[in-house]
Symmetry: C2
Subunit: 208 residues, 2 copies
DNA sequence: CTTTGTATTAACAAAATTGTTAAACAATAG
DNA sequence: CTATTGTTTAACAATTTTGTTAATACAAAG
């Protein structure tokens, strides 16, 4: 078998499934359409993954992991001074989402439509995040006491960063036709938007 | 016929359809489930609305109108000084979305899954928005020249406002379990979040 | 009180979609 | 070479979902 030369059928199906699920969601996706896009008969899809549900779970697992990686990117480089660290964190998070622009909508839709399914996963993630945030909150509090920045709740700051970074991609198709020339050149807009998000957050924590 | 005393069957179906479509989307919605929720046979649904598609369009039309109203709310009260105006606009927009928390996800999903359908609608909206923004941009430019605020692109500012306000509700189910006690009390969190969004935007335009 | 149009139901039909199976085929280990 | 194992296909089955229809009830109008 040539697993490396040509992509295996399994790989082809997974790639096609990812595309289909990310754009159309579970309900909108069709196993026949995935099989067709992968260039295999739809019996093959069932041979490798048994059910649509199981194929979907493979994609969900990977995408949830990617999403959590993206959230850790906001943490930034701990060796840098706090303002530089936040600046870098925002940029890294923005770039991460830029590389996975379909990810947030997929994850949000999935959480909304079957919350019970992710309760366990979520409880664990919540605890991890809690401890990590505590460290960063401490660093922020110390910087605030030194008068370098404003005192602020790190969670609120994270929500603001995620809001601005994620919304950019989430609502791109919605906003683009409404914004005239501003968003006409995607690359140029994204560059400007990244800078704007950083500027907005930095001003939020700037001592005044 | 008692059109007002008791809700008409048509009204019941529309209400059930709105709930179903907003939470599950077009693909996830089931006409049988809508009929059941409305307490009518599913033949009734087809009698009144012919097809799922036509029923969906009724909901979409209304929701797109609501969404565009919400966007106009950001404009704020033109009789107020610019900073107060923006402050009020953010608050009004936030409250609007708070009253329609399922709206943004629904609209975004719809735009992403069938963009061609809204091209015409969008061209028109884009032109209207363009002219309205021009006025506000002028007012901002004048205030900036007077040294009251920073010079800023109104469209960028609007995107930031929409980002922070909308993301709050869009990602609520996703964030809530990750944020420990912060989001435990929904009302309290929304109040804090509204204030945070206003603070963030005002700092963005504050002359420094 | 009969006609006419609307409302309602149950049963049915059609289509789409997921999933199965049996048989053919290919690769490979012994 | 052949037995075994995994791969592939075509055809089929089951289910779900949307949509239709024919029969019936009901209300209003003449």
């Amino acid at each position: 078998m040539d697993n490396n030369q040509v992509q295996s059928k399994e790989q082809l199906i997974l790639a096609a499934a990812e595309q289909e699920f990310l754009t159309k969601g579970y309900d909108g996706a069709r196993t026949t359409s995935i099989a067709q896009a992968a260039g295999v008969t739809h019996a093959m899809l069932h041979y490798y993954f048994r059910t649509k549900e199981q194929l979907f779970e493979r994609i969900v697992d990977e995408k949830f992991a990617t999403m959590s990686h993206s959230m850790f990117a906001i943490m930034g480089d701990p060796s840098l001074p706090i303002v530089e660290r936040i600046k870098g964190g925002i940029a890294a998070h923005f770039d991460f989402i830029a590389d996975n622009p379909l990810l947030p909508r997929f994850v949000i839709n999935e959480i909304v439509s079957r919350p019970e399914r992710y309760e366990v996963l979520y409880k664990r993630a919540g605890i991890i995040i809690e401890t990590i945030y505590r460290d960063l909150q401490l660093e922020i509090d110390r910087a605030a006491e030194r008068g370098e920045i404003e005192k602020i709740d790190i969670k609120m700051l994270f929500i603001s960063i995620m809001s601005m970074n994620i919304f950019t991609f989430l609502a791109y198709p919605f906003m683009e036709p409404l914004m005239g020339n501003l968003m006409a050149d995607r690359e140029q807009f994204l560059t400007a938007r990244k800078a704007e998000n950083i500027e907005t957050i930095l001003r939020r924590i700037k001592k005044q």
